[in-house]
């Protein structure tokens, strides 16, 4: 008679008997858990691949590492199929933590136990870090919004191990224990959040589940306030410097006397577009309200002006002209013999604006293209990539 032993070098009938009972207990007492199966990182393609971010296929794509320098998988692919397996975990109370970056983080790490063999059979592999779990029994039907769907609850698996309680008398494991944390609307889970929400309106899971849209609205409101504080109009982008257009400049001569139009002037006609022939006070020849970043290139007292890249052939005294080929644009005034510089338009949208025209801004917000030697070249290039030698072999 052989020695009595529950352990066998191979998984025996005892193991299978116990495993079936455990599986059955999960079917009876567990809850459905939807698994969004991780399928490996997005492949950068041949052209974009680098030694540290290589291109290539693995036999097991989940085992590929996207960035071999920082050792992270940022752009993850998830299966379009959703797998349903049963799991058991202890529901726990949540604590909301207003963390230092100003948003709640939930102290919501849960440990879910799965039946190993059935989950592997269902998924085609063992659960792994990066798989996303959806817990349908935690749907919130009463969230404060007007969506037509309940808010789902997503977790991402951080660690998977074999729990000690999952070992049977046969010494073989039957369970998997997944350490799960709430998912984030981040680059890693983009494919999950790009899926349809089920609302029937074409909205995505991101639209109904993520705080991103509301955070961007808050950000936009603050930006509008910043605009209004500077320009008085929430839709008018912030520009640097100081506004003097509402001030009146009394035109004076060198002695401080008020400059008036000479009644004998013959070069001012009623059909002049630049100067109103009925005007009596001359246009100012200097701005009184000067200071740091006060030049806007606009003529003083709201006088009419024209602009272009070369001065007009015929001009009347006191006529303003904005040279747009200067950077910054320069405002001139004609004094019968020459065009006199009045000011430069130094008020521009600041650096962090999309249309920034500051010096630094023109280096960053630059979509110019130049044709050099018959070839179109983008003006903005990373300094490390500009004029790199080409392979000449």
């Amino acid at each position: 008679m052989p020695r009595l032993s529950l352990y066998r070098p191979e998984k025996s009938a005892d193991y299978r008997f116990i495993d079936k009972n455990i599986y059955e207990s999960f079917q009876v007492g567990g809850t459905d858990i939807f698994v969004h199966k991780y399928e490996g990182p997005v492949d950068p393609g041949v052209d974009a691949s680098t030694p540290s971010q290589p291109y290539g296929t693995n036999d097991i794509p989940e085992t590929k590492i996207q960035d071999l320098l920082f050792l992270e998988n940022r752009d993850r692919k998830y299966s379009d199929d959703v797998y349903t397996i049963r799991g058991i975990y202890n529901v726990q109370d949540l604590d909301f933590d207003l963390s230092q970056f100003g948003m709640f983080l939930q102290n919501d790490t849960i440990f879910i136990t799965f039946h190993m063999n059935s989950s592997v059979e269902n998924l085609g592999r063992k659960l792994m870090s990066g798989d996303v779990l959806e817990l349908p029994h935690l749907k919130d039907d009463y969230a404060l919004n007007d969506y037509q769907v309940s808010l789902k609850r997503f977790y991402v698996i951080e660690d998977v191990s074999r729990p000690s309680e999952g070992f049977s008398q046969t010494w073989y494991p039957h369970l998997l224990r997944a350490k799960c944390k709430p998912i984030l609307d981040s680059q890693e889970f983009k494919e999950i959040f790009d899926k349809d929400s089920g609302e029937g309106t074409g909205s995505t899971i991101r639209d109904v589940l993520s705080t991103y849209e509301k955070e961007m609205q808050i950000n936009e409101a603050v930006l509008n306030q910043a605009n209004e504080d500077i320009t008085g109009d929430p839709n008018q982008p912030v520009i640097s410097g100081y506004d003097t257009k509402q001030y009146f400049v009394v035109p004076t001569d060198a002695d401080g006397n008020v400059l008036t139009q000479d009644g004998s002037a013959t070069d001012v006609t009623v059909d002049s577009a630049k100067i109103d022939a009925s005007a009596v006070i001359k246009t100012p020849n200097a701005n009184f309200y000067v200071g740091y970043l006060t030049g806007d290139g606009a003529p003083l007292n709201g006088a009419p002006y024209s602009f272009g890249s070369q001065f007009p052939q015929a001009a009347s005294e006191g006529e303003y002209f904005l040279r747009t080929d200067y950077f910054p644009n320069r405002l001139f005034r004609y004094n019968r013999s020459r065009w006199v510089k009045i000011e430069d338009g130094v008020r521009v949208e600041p650096m962090t604006s999309d249309n920034a025209r500051s010096q630094l801004g023109t280096f960053v917000n630059n979509t110019n293209k130049n044709t050099i030697n018959g070839k179109e070249v983008e003006e903005r290039q990373a300094l490390s990539q500009a004029l790199k030698p080409k392979a000449d072999n």
Partner: protein, 462 residues
């Protein structure tokens, strides 16, 4: 103490959040995603509202949050706390109807600003990212801005001397994580600490634009005595008049016409004026003050020698815009001088006559009839030979039996002496309604207020 609050620090925080906004990251598919930026110290209630009062809501990452970590008095920037700076400004006129500024001058202001209080505002910017590459993308965009600092403004107000500040990057804590990570993955936050030198100011004083009303000067001469003519003078030492366009004015027959600068006017015959220039449209002047001229309400004021003014309401002649029709305020027109004789006391004459060509026919003349003589009576040409009285510029009255001289211009010794200032004599010709004036320095009757007014002697009140 009265309450005041201008949201000065709030505006700087707003601009700080703006500076930290509009950053983005790119994923491997080339999709750009903007990173939301907000104030970091939000309340629990708002945090719950943002997540729709549901623990299922998923927070987005990466994100940037900014918040105040300190506000210290900047003793190194202290300046004279009692210093008051004055700024004088003239606004352009504003058309309320169109909501646009005009090219004409509006009200003038003087703004007094007291020395603001220097502070250093410390701000922190937390960058929460979910992977290292993402963090480096964000950092590379941010860190090039502060070389050596980034200027910001809280307002674009020209007179707000506290609006300008700058953001200095004081320190960078690349990650709050402990390396290597333990059993739990901490949130990865990059912390950037900034300093902003700011000024906080009490309210300013906004006053009407100040003009020079008083000149303080030495009133003593070389001997230490008070100089004559400085404080005992009745008249100002100088008057400065400014006339837009240097226009003159020709007032005639209750109308006013503009005279171009340098234009001459002559009166070849009584009451007929010739001008050397072309008629000038009043709109050349009025268009400098769009919407200000109100027909029948705006007034033209004519200066008199005694400093007072004759006032007339004005309206542009609808058929001839070179003329303004005047309606004189009778209270401002000079009062006639009452002249007395044996039959009557009044300030009028019945007619102005040339005694060499006119015979009043005394046989049918009513007693009390008065005439102003244009010329000396000439016995050879005198129309009524038997009643020879008076001389040029005299006023004579028929008393029923003989002529009396009511106003003897030549017999008045004081009037003949032009060095003695005398009140002018005003009379009105009831035949034409025109008022005349006699002054000793001119020695003749001239129209009282009609005629030419050079620049500085008339004004238009809109």
């Amino acid at each position: 103490m009265q309450h005041f609050y201008d949201g000065q620090i709030r505006r700087f925080v707003t601009q700080f959040v703006r500076v930290m906004s509009n950053f983005s990251y790119k994923d491997s598919a080339g999709t750009l995603r903007k990173i939301p930026t907000s104030y970091g110290n939000l309340t629990r209630q708002v945090a719950h509202i943002i997540r729709d009062n549901s623990e299922n809501k998923v927070i987005s990452a990466p994100r940037i949050s900014c918040y105040i970590t300190g506000l210290d008095y900047a003793r190194d920037r202290v300046q004279n706390p009692t210093h008051v700076s004055k700024v004088h400004l003239r606004e352009r006129d504003f058309d309320e109807a169109t909501g646009e500024y005009l090219d004409s001058q509006g009200p003038g202001y003087t703004v007094e600003r007291i020395m603001p209080v220097p502070f250093n505002l410390q701000m922190k910017c937390d960058v929460w990212s979910t992977n290292t590459d993402q963090k480096l993308q964000i950092m590379e965009q941010m860190l090039v801005l502060f070389n050596p600092s980034l200027e910001i403004q809280s307002t674009a107000n020209y007179i707000d001397w506290t609006s300008l500040s700058l953001i200095e990057l004081a320190s960078v804590n690349f990650s709050t994580r402990t390396i290597p990570q333990g059993v739990d993955t901490e949130i990865d936050i990059g912390e950037l600490t900034f300093t902003m030198p700011i000024w906080i100011t009490p309210p300013a004083k906004v006053k009407q634009l100040g003009v020079i009303e008083k000149i303080v000067m030495s009133v003593f001469d070389e001997s230490g005595s008070i100089s004559d003519g400085i404080i005992d003078s009745v008249n100002p030492m100088a008057t400065v008049n400014v006339t837009p366009g240097n226009f003159g004015l020709l007032v005639l027959n209750n109308t006013a016409r503009l005279l171009s600068p340098g234009e001459g006017v002559s009166e070849p015959t009584a009451g007929n004026f010739d001008r050397t220039g072309e008629p000038v449209s009043w709109f050349k002047l009025l268009d400098q003050y769009p919407g200000k001229f109100r027909a029948g309400l705006s007034t033209i004021r004519l200066s008199k020698a005694d400093g007072s003014e004759i006032v007339a309401t004005a309206s542009v002649n609808p058929t001839d815009d070179t003329q303004i029709v005047l309606s004189f305020d009778s209270d401002t027109v000079p009062q006639n001088t009452i002249l007395s004789d044996s039959t009557t006391s009044r300030g009028t004459v019945d007619a102005i006559i040339d005694p060499t060509t006119f015979n009043p026919e005394t046989a049918t003349l009513t007693a009390g009839t008065r005439y102003l003589l244009l010329t000396d009576p000439n016995p050879n040409t005198f129309a009524w030979q038997d009643e020879l009285v008076g001389a040029a510029n005299d006023i004579i009255t028929w008393n029923g039996t003989a002529w009396e001289i009511t106003f003897d211009s030549s017999a008045n010794e004081e009037r003949a002496d032009s060095s003695v200032a005398q009140d002018p004599v005003y009379i009105t010709n009831t035949y034409t309604g025109i008022q005349y004036r006699f002054t000793n320095d001119q020695g003749a009757w001239l129209k009282s207020y009609e005629g030419e007014y050079v620049k500085g002697q008339w004004r238009l009140v809109l």
